[in-house]
């Protein structure tokens, strides 16, 4: 197990190196930040000074070398706009995004799994077909449009929830959280639902398909032949088997949830990483963009590793290589 984790971490490190090269070249290609950062009235000499100070006069490989040297010391660069370390900016925005992503994930699981189980157990019943239709909607409606419609309905027409911002927060271990205040909860509600909708659809479809497939297995029939009551067949025999694909997919999807949050955070002006990255892209604040992309890649590596470990705990047949 330890060896497996070490090997995966090594693979993760390789991935991060490749990622950093792609990101660096990509960001370089987007455009020259100097044109946006420097006041149009600045003299040619002032311009040259700033370019030199930011190191933008050096060739790309040298800039990259400097970035790598800095990154190894834990310094991902300084924001051109805010003049503070880029990684610090991201860490500051992280709790808001995490709170949003986790809330959406919980909603997706709590709503999606029971509905999926129901739809899979009696696939031909009317409620099951309604659930399936709903899941297709959740799957196909674009997130930004759903967000806007939620705002129109609940904020503008009904006035039940605010349309943006985080509301009041409470600090828990130095991390500001909205979910613990009533005002914060009202602010969190709409973006969380909007972000969750796609995942609810996904979880329903996955659970439904796994349920139908598992119900056909011989061991389910044998459990019934033993006289196991139907609710127990579903809960302890079927569900434990379904849990494996659900954990895998939901775990993997958590990474994409953080990435998808970009759109939702923008629509609801939620002050998280997504909003930070969109703002940074619009002013070509290169260090923040690079730091965000590197951090997201790191989160993906970490989440995938955790999913693999969780999988081996849940499924006795999986023994991680090199145990």
């Amino acid at each position: 197990m330890t060896l497996f984790i070490l090997r995966r971490l090594l693979q993760g490190a390789q991935l991060m190196i490749v990622m950093s090269i792609i990101v660096f070249i990509g960001v370089y290609l987007i455009g020259n930040p100097v044109d946006i950062l420097i006041h149009p009235a600045a003299t040619q000499q002032q311009k040259a000074e700033i370019i030199a100070r930011l190191g933008l006069d050096r060739p790309l490989w040298e800039q990259y070398g400097q970035f790598v040297m800095g990154a190894l010391r834990g310094d991902l660069g300084t924001s051109y706009v805010y003049r503070v370390p880029a990684f610090g900016l991201i860490l500051k925005a992280l709790p808001a995004t995490m709170e949003l992503a986790l809330s959406a994930m919980v909603i997706a699981i709590v709503v999606g799994i029971p509905l999926g189980l129901w739809a899979g157990y009696r696939p031909h019943s009317i409620p099951a077909q309604a659930i399936t239709a709903f899941s297709i909607l959740g799957f196909s409606l674009p997130t930004f449009w759903v967000g806007l419609m939620l705002i129109v309905l609940f904020s503008v027409d009904l006035g039940l929830a605010p349309s943006g911002g985080r509301g009041a927060t409470v600090e828990v271990f130095g991390i500001p959280l909205s979910i613990l205040t009533l005002d914060g909860l009202r602010h969190l509600m709409l973006p969380a639902i909007s972000l969750a909708l796609f995942k609810i659809g996904l979880v329903i479809r996955l659970t439904r398909a796994s349920m139908q497939e598992t119900l056909r297995q011989d061991f389910v029939r044998f459990a019934r032949a033993k006289g196991v009551p139907e609710h127990r067949v579903v809960v302890s025999h079927v569900f434990r088997n379904i849990l494996l694909p659900i954990v895998t997919v939901v775990g993997m999807e958590f990474g994409s949830l953080i990435a998808f949050a970009v759109v939702t955070e923008t629509v609801f002006s939620w002050p998280g990483m997504g909003k930070l990255i969109i703002d940074s892209i619009s002013v070509l604040d290169r260090p923040v963009i690079v730091a965000y992309l590197m951090f997201t890649a790191f989160l993906f590596v970490l989440i995938n590793l955790l999913v693999d470990v969780a999988y081996s705990v849940l499924d006795p047949r999986v023994r991680l290589a090199g145990r």
């Binding site: 011989d218 032949a225 033993k226 088997n241 494996l244 849940l314 006795p316 047949r317």
Partner: protein, 329 residues
């Protein structure tokens, strides 16, 4: 020990929407006394497994029981009554399936799966007591080091070991009857032989009756007391095992026996029955086997014969031209 453990009367199973339904099992009656083994023989699709699943109340839509009833140790049971069957299954009537690799839940430990069979029928049994019975059940079916097996997951055990565990689970509540759907087909011949031997001994010792569903006549010969041969949803021949194996009356039974390789007779080529069994729903008038039967005459194609007594009266056959000479065709 001659009291009837399980009797099935006029069981008809059909599938599909009402009015356009297809009959899969057609008026099957069977009975098996305590401690005896009945072999239900037939090709794939003959309805033998459907018969067992129907008796257990385990048919899944769109397949359903159209008519018929059953009695268990003298008491009438209704296989369509879900509540009643839930209590009976696993306690008075158990079932074993074909593939031991698929019958145990892969993510549950063996102990939980064995103990569950006890506790779902009697919640008052303590965990320790259930475990004790589980250990005992495993010993009964010839599993060495039961403690170790109980703590294992199914994938850590061999196919033969898993099937023994499945049999142990089926027998743990001392049911009146066990329905076994080809439980040794997926095992190698040595393991198969051992398990058949154990099963026969257990039935005799505990008085449990068994319905052994198979297409393997070699298994039948070493195991069964009585045989019922099924073809296209119908029983075509029924009687004591020795009689039927030595002197089949129905041409279909003869055909089945001829397609078994014999080590002591030198035949150049193994005989097979020409043609295919009819697909459910496409059954025409007359004897269902007639299109494949080399003894068929015109009368065979017009009316289906009834299952009538034959020989010394202990046998039943559904044929107007039975092989009364022992079938040396």
């Amino acid at each position: 020990m001659s009291d009837v453990a399980l009797a099935i009367r006029d069981l008809t199973v059909e599938a599909g929407p009402k009015g356009r339904s297809v009959t899969l099992v057609d008026g099957v009656s069977l009975s098996v006394p305590s401690g005896k083994i009945l072999a239900l023989v037939g090709e794939s699709g003959s309805g033998k497994s459907m018969t067992a699943l129907a008796a257990m109340g385990l048919l899944e839509p769109p397949v359903r029981i159209a008519s018929g009833g059953a009695s268990l140790a003298g008491k009438a049971v209704d296989p369509t009554d879900r509540r009643q069957m839930r209590g009976i299954r696993g306690r008075d009537m158990a079932m074993i399936f074909q593939d031991p690799m698929m019958t145990l839940n892969p993510v549950m430990r063996v102990d939980e799966q064995v103990c569950e069979a006890v506790t779902v029928h009697d919640p008052s049994v303590s965990k320790a007591e259930a475990l004790r019975r589980a250990r005992e059940a495993l010993v009964t079916v010839g599993i060495p080091a039961p403690e170790e097996r109980l703590n294992a997951y199914p994938h850590q055990l061999s196919g033969g070991m898993r099937q023994r565990i499945v049999i142990a689970i089926a027998l743990i509540n001392r049911p009146a009857v066990v329905l076994a759907a080809e439980p040794t087909t997926a095992l190698d011949v040595t393991t198969q032989g051992q398990i058949l031997h154990e099963v026969k001994r257990l039935c005799r010792d505990t008085g449990t009756a068994m319905v052994w569903i198979t297409h393997d006549l070699a298994v039948v010969a070493s195991l069964a007391d009585t045989i019922a041969v099924m073809y296209a949803g119908r029983i075509v021949e029924q009687g004591p095992a020795d009689d039927i194996l030595a002197r089949p009356l129905h041409p279909y039974t003869r055909g089945l026996l001829d397609s078994v390789p014999m080590i002591d007779t030198r035949s150049e080529r193994l005989r097979s029955i020409p043609g295919m069994p009819p697909v459910a729903g496409s059954i025409t008038a007359g004897c269902r086997f007639a299109p494949r039967c080399e003894r068929a005459v015109e009368a065979c194609r017009t009316a289906e014969p009834a299952l009538a007594p034959a020989g010394n009266g202990a046998r039943l056959v559904r044929c107007i031209r039975p092989l009364d000479d022992g079938g040396a065709a």
